[in-house]
């Protein structure tokens, strides 16, 4: 299943960039078998790798109040890193700095560096829009676009960012398959996205961010509005997705961090207390505050 999902993504999105401009696709009826249309790309790797993200002295402010106080943190490529910590400790704010969504809030600003691979997303020459295409985001509450169908929701990222080249239908299918939603919605793609259940809506939102083919996906408490079964599905999905993307997940739920994350970072009052392999953070943390938090003494 996993390799199938990722090979689909590779097969039908990647080669668009490799194609010559004049080499237009034959105007055939959108097929349900993307592999049949896409010419084989000789140099394509079996799975498109995610990129690492490194925070250097990252500070984030709302007006004069400093919410993230100089964090240095590595998110390794193709790993799931969970960020835990009590409410208001700056987890979400820090994550929103990575794709520069933090600055969308009036009066908010960030300092320091966020390196995507070797590339500072806060560099003055950087196009914010390009950063956000490379670093997708899934929010706390499922929020499909209410005026759009299931299909249009998934296609929205491609359409909104004017990257329409290629077969939209197969790209949408690939994204829905990667998000584990294809089987459930393939027969009703034209129905409104808001008509799905909460868990399906959240997977629709994941499909929507996958469709633009990002290297990193930020998840800001993606399961906090979902029931346990929908949560389980998302967690299984996260485990599959890390084959092709780097995942950063903010969570209030320590069991969730323990289940899905390769590495876990613990934050407190805007500072990074500790980061390490999940197993270590939960069993043999080096900082007493981490131990107190993961054993439920506070938070």
């Amino acid at each position: 299943m996993t390799s199938n999902g990722s090979s689909l993504r590779t097969a039908d999105v990647e080669p668009d960039e490799l194609m010559e401009p004049g080499q237009a696709r034959p105007p055939e009826i959108p097929s349900t078998k993307p592999q049949a249309i896409v010419p084989p790309a000789p140099s394509a790797a079996p799975a498109k790798p995610g990129l690492s993200v490194r925070l250097e002295k990252l500070r984030a402010f709302y007006g004069d109040s400093e919410q993230v106080k100089g964090v240095d943190l590595d998110f390794r490529a193709n790993e799931v890193t969970a960020i835990i910590g009590p409410s208001g400790c700056g987890k979400s704010t820090m994550v929103r700095c990575i794709n520069r969504m933090h600055e969308e809030i009036p009066g908010a600003r960030a300092e320091g560096r966020v390196l995507l691979d070797d590339f500072d997303v806060y560099d003055s020459s950087v196009d914010v829009v390009a950063v956000r295409r490379a670093i997708g985001m899934v929010f706390q509450k499922p929020n499909p676009f209410p005026t759009m169908s299931i299909f249009d929701n998934v296609a929205s990222g491609l359409r909104l960012s004017s990257r329409r080249g290629g077969d939209l239908r197969s790209q949408v299918e690939a994204a829905l398959r990667s998000a584990g939603l294809w089987e459930e919605v393939s027969g009703r793609l034209e129905e409104p996205g808001a008509g799905l259940s909460g868990g399906q809506q959240q997977r629709l939102c994941i499909a929507r961010s996958l469709a633009v083919n990002p290297e990193v996906i930020l998840m800001d408490e993606p399961c906090s509005a979902l029931d346990p079964i929908a949560t389980l599905k998302i967690e299984e999905l996260i485990a599959e997705l890390k084959q092709s993307v780097t995942i950063v997940i903010v969570t209030h739920n320590m069991q969730q961090a323990a289940r899905v994350a390769d590495r876990t970072a613990f934050m407190l009052s805007g500072e990074l207390v500790e980061v390490g392999p999940t197993q270590e953070i939960f069993t043999t943390p080096s900082d007493s505050r981490t131990e107190e938090y993961v054993t439920g003494k506070f938070g």
């Binding site: 794709n99 969504m101 969308e104 009036p106 829009v129 390009a130 950063v131 956000r132 295409r133 997708g136 985001m137 929010f139 509450k141 929020n143 676009f145 209410p146 005026t147 759009m148 169908s149 929205s156 990222g157 359409r159 909104l160 960012s161 004017s162 409104p192 808001a194 008509g195 939102c205 929507r208 961010s209 633009v212």
Partner: protein, 298 residues
């Protein structure tokens, strides 16, 4: 059993006291009374419009221009064709001017200006404009475009006066609706790598569309019924006219002129015209709502 007495007492505290019951009845009565009171004039207006207006409706009422004769039989005074077409033309141009500008101002206020001092200033002036009596807009256009340029009345000058009148209504209603669009939608679109203008055109405006249609309709309905801004801008004429650069008839001005006539048949034509105006706005409302519903998926 000795407990039955205390049992009744124990339950008595759950009974509604007569005092509370009385208060409740009075309050409900007062609210219902106010509702009925407000309905009376509304029903009377509709009743008189139908009784008096329907009497003058006939096929020729809609297909002939007013003749200008007032001292002859009702058959010779003519209909209101030029007034209907004039109103449609003037209001259509006024909407074509005020709706795009108004929506643009609202988008700027909500998406870009937000709480800045300039946005606050714009909001203040929009509020002031909302309260300006309609005749002032007419007077303004009259002084600037007719006295000021030494030219004569014209349909498009009426449209401009109406557009000024509609503008604050469109801005305010569109702004309120745009603010209702959840920020989460803007954020998730931005996070997909959509440029801001795309987010506005593809996500924010379609989501807000049904609500904005209502606001625009309110503005159109208000403008379509205005007499004062048209009296000395578009003036009036008898003939049907498709050139907005010429004098132009309109329903409110026709009603205004007819009502002051001593001839019963002409006064009745005013009622017929009034009913026509109401029906036109009603139809527009229906059509726009159908379009807005179709454009929305949910």
């Amino acid at each position: 059993m000795s407990t039955s007495g205390s049992e009744t007492e124990r339950l008595a505290r759950f009974n509604v006291s007569p005092r509370r019951r009385r208060k409740d009845r009075i309050a409900r009565g007062a609210i219902l009374g106010a509702t009925v009171l407000a309905l009376i004039p509304l029903l009377l207006i509709v009743y008189y419009l139908l009784i008096k207006g329907l009497g003058s409706w006939s096929p020729s009422f809609f297909t002939t221009d007013p003749t200008g004769n007032t001292f002859f039989k009702s058959s010779s005074i003519g209909g209101i064709k030029s007034a209907i077409l004039g109103t449609i033309e003037i209001v259509a141009l006024a909407s074509a001017i005020s709706v795009p500008i108004g929506v643009a101002v609202a988008v700027w206020l909500v998406e870009y200006g937000k709480g800045s001092w300039f946005a606050q200033l714009v909001r203040f002036f929009v509020d002031v404009l909302t309260g300006v009596p309609s005749i002032v807009f007419g007077l303004f256009i009259y002084i600037v475009l007719i006295v000021g340029t030494g030219s004569s009345f014209a349909g498009y000058k009426g449209s401009l006066a109406l557009a000024l009148l509609m503008l604050p209504v469109v801005i305010r209603s569109a702004e309120v609706i745009l603010m209702l669009v959840p920020d989460a939608l803007r954020e998730s679109a931005l996070a997909l790598g959509a440029p801001r203008w795309r987010v506005i055109f593809s996500i924010v405006l379609p989501t807000a569309l049904p609500g904005m249609v209502t606001g625009v309709l309110l503005a159109i309905a208000r403008a379509a019924g205005e007499t004062a801004p048209l009296l000395f801008t578009a003036a009036t004429t008898k003939n049907t006219n498709f050139n907005l650069g010429q004098f132009m008839n309109s329903l409110p001005v026709q009603i205004y002129n007819d009502v002051t006539s001593p001839t019963t048949a002409v006064v009745n034509r005013a009622w017929g015209a009034a009913l026509t105006l109401v029906v036109m706005i009603l139809l527009l409302n229906l059509i726009a709502r159908l379009i807005a519903r179709r454009s929305r998926l949910a």
